[in-house]
Amino acid sequence: MALLTLEHVTQRFGALAAVNDLSFELEEGEVFGIAGPNGAGKTTVFNLISGFLHGSGRILLDGKRIDGLPPHRVTHLGIARTFQIPQPFQSMTVVQNLRIGEYYGSQGRTADGARRAPWKDLSGLIEFVGLQGKEDRPVSSLKLYDKKLTVLASALATRPRLVMLDEALGGLSAVEAELSLALLQRLNKEWGLTVIMIEHLMSALTRSCDRLLILNNGEALRLGEPRAVVEDPAVIECLVGGKRA
């Protein structure tokens, strides 16, 4: 059975359909990329899955409906996410940010009714993302990359099965972007996490994704093997045209 299923999902803002009749399935262990021009509805898809928006259509996790659930319930079921602009808790330190995720994210029960054991020791996670030495720094003093890592690590501290990364590489230097990509691959290979990533950088997507979805005007333009998708003339036109607009 698919891990995550979207069936005819639609979200309207007034007359505009930000996401229009979108359906796809996600297998456990997959890295799934989403690309498309600005305003194509990529982040809206994340907001729908994570419960910040409630549109029409059905969203299922392990065959059980999760559309209609509030965001914290979705988190408790094992879906974590990051945000395009990282906004960690300003009045807390790095490790305190992580603890919020660890404590509140592991409350409630997973889909199979079992209680997940929270991580008592967060140092492994801090080392994994590469924030060692900065644990007790107030978040407000961090640079963008470290803020992104803090948000990612806090999301991981909720012990998710599926993690959704919203432009994890945006605004980073080339070196930082490489580090982030490597991190993402380890998440998938070593931890066995399923990953959905929104990204603008096509090379990153073709390198790390198993499948790639191109969104345009809220609709699925192409879905398939990344290399085939990016060479599709319709996709090229959409992305290049989209950038020019």
Binding site: H72, F89, M92
Partner: protein, 355 residues
């Protein structure tokens, strides 16, 4: 004022920090100890005792309000409504239903809680700004409602008076001897301080501070915005209703005048002067406001003019209040003593580096 808030003292995992000595609880403790000893020094100065009792009542309300304004970021402008209805509930139960005034305290707290939740239910589903609109409308409508509510025993425009005072072991408290009143008020004041302190410095506190800092991120980490907000509103409402009930029996009068602008602006100044989101600043602000306002009594009409201008000046020039000023002084001292001093102190007590 978000960035200026004292960082959380305790988070999941380091709970004992709430019990460790720090500036927050140090000042609170000092304040309470001084208050507890004051009657010995003042002896029979009934007038000063009265001012202190009133200060403690409003100090409790101010910290409870600040829990919403400064920590949870909920712009509830109807706080005095909770206070007034707590007072009315207790007064009506003792005067109209003949219930022992002690039960009124419970009733006041319950009314405060229920009301806060009722008002919270619709408004917390909406954007923050709507809460400010709706709660102010509630506060402004309450006066006319209590005035027309004569049929249910609110006493109309004149309110309820006299209200039976408390009695301890058959001995009725009188206004002639303020000492028992004083310690009763102190007890309730301490209750407010303790509840608010632990609400802020606990796992629960971490959750509403997280929501205030970054709402969507907090939700995405598994915090229920709705549940947390309702709970914090209920706590604040309970404490405020409780203080209202005590106030009714202490002063012996409640009338729609309690909902006047004067009281409201005093409460605003208390919180602002003490420091928004700077526990226990608002409580200290209450003492300053009550005593200064008493001192300004001679100016009558100019008093509110001054307080209005004071609110404007505080927001414009000193939005962090007295406790914020203390932070600056401490920051300055730390800076002079070198970085090691700051590094040694628990993270909870140092301000983040200024950008």
């Amino acid at each position: 004022m978000k960035r200026d808030r004292t960082p959380v003292a305790a988070l999941p995992g380091d709970r004992p920090k709430a019990l460790r000595f720090n500036r927050q609880n140090g000042i609170t403790l000092g304040l309470v100890v001084i208050l507890a000893l004051l009657p010995l020094a003042l002896g029979d100065s009934t007038y000063t005792m009265r001012l202190l009792i009133v200060s403690m009542i409003w100090g409790g309300v101010a910290v409870a309000w600040d829990l919403l304004l400064g920590y949870a970021g909920i712009f509830n402008l109807g706080q005095i409504g909770f206070f007034a209805l707590g007072a009315y509930a207790s007064a009506m139960l003792s005067q109209n239903a003949g219930l022992n005034p002690w039960w009124g305290l419970l009733a006041g707290a319950a009314v405060g809680a229920v009301l806060a939740v009722l008002l919270g239910l619709p408004s917390l589903r909406m954007a923050g700004i709507y809460i400010a609109l709706l709660t102010l409308a509630f506060y402004e409508v309450l006066g006319p409602l209590l005035t027309v509510g004569q049929a249910v025993g609110t006493g109309g425009k004149r309110g309820i008076s006299p209200i039976e005072p408390y009695s301890i072991g058959g001995h009725t408290l009188s206004s002639g001897n303020q000492v028992p009143w004083f310690y009763l008020a102190l007890g309730l004041f301490v209750l407010c301080l303790v509840v608010c302190y632990f609400a802020i410095n606990s796992r629960f506190g971490a959750s509403f501070i997280a929501l205030h800092d970054s709402e969507q991120f907090a939700q995405s980490l598994g915090i229920s915005r709705y549940k947390v907000s309702l709970l914090i509103v209920a706590i604040s409402g309970t404490l405020t209703g409780l203080m209202g009930a005590f106030y009714a029996h202490y002063t012996g009068v409640v009338s729609p005048r309690i909902l006047g602008l004067e009281v409201f602006i005093y409460l605003v100044v208390m919180v602002l002067l003490g420091g928004v989101g700077k526990f226990p600043g608002p409580a200290i602000g209450a003492f300053v406001v009550i005593f200064v306002s008493d001192w300004l009594r001679a100016f009558e009409n100019f008093r509110l003019l001054i307080f209005g201008a004071l609110v404007v000046a505080l927001v414009m020039l000193a939005p962090r209040g007295l406790m914020g000023a203390l932070d600056s002084v401490q920051g300055f001292v730390h800076h002079r003593r070198g970085r090691h001093a700051a590094a040694e102190a628990p993270a909870a007590e140092t301000d983040g580096p200024k950008p």
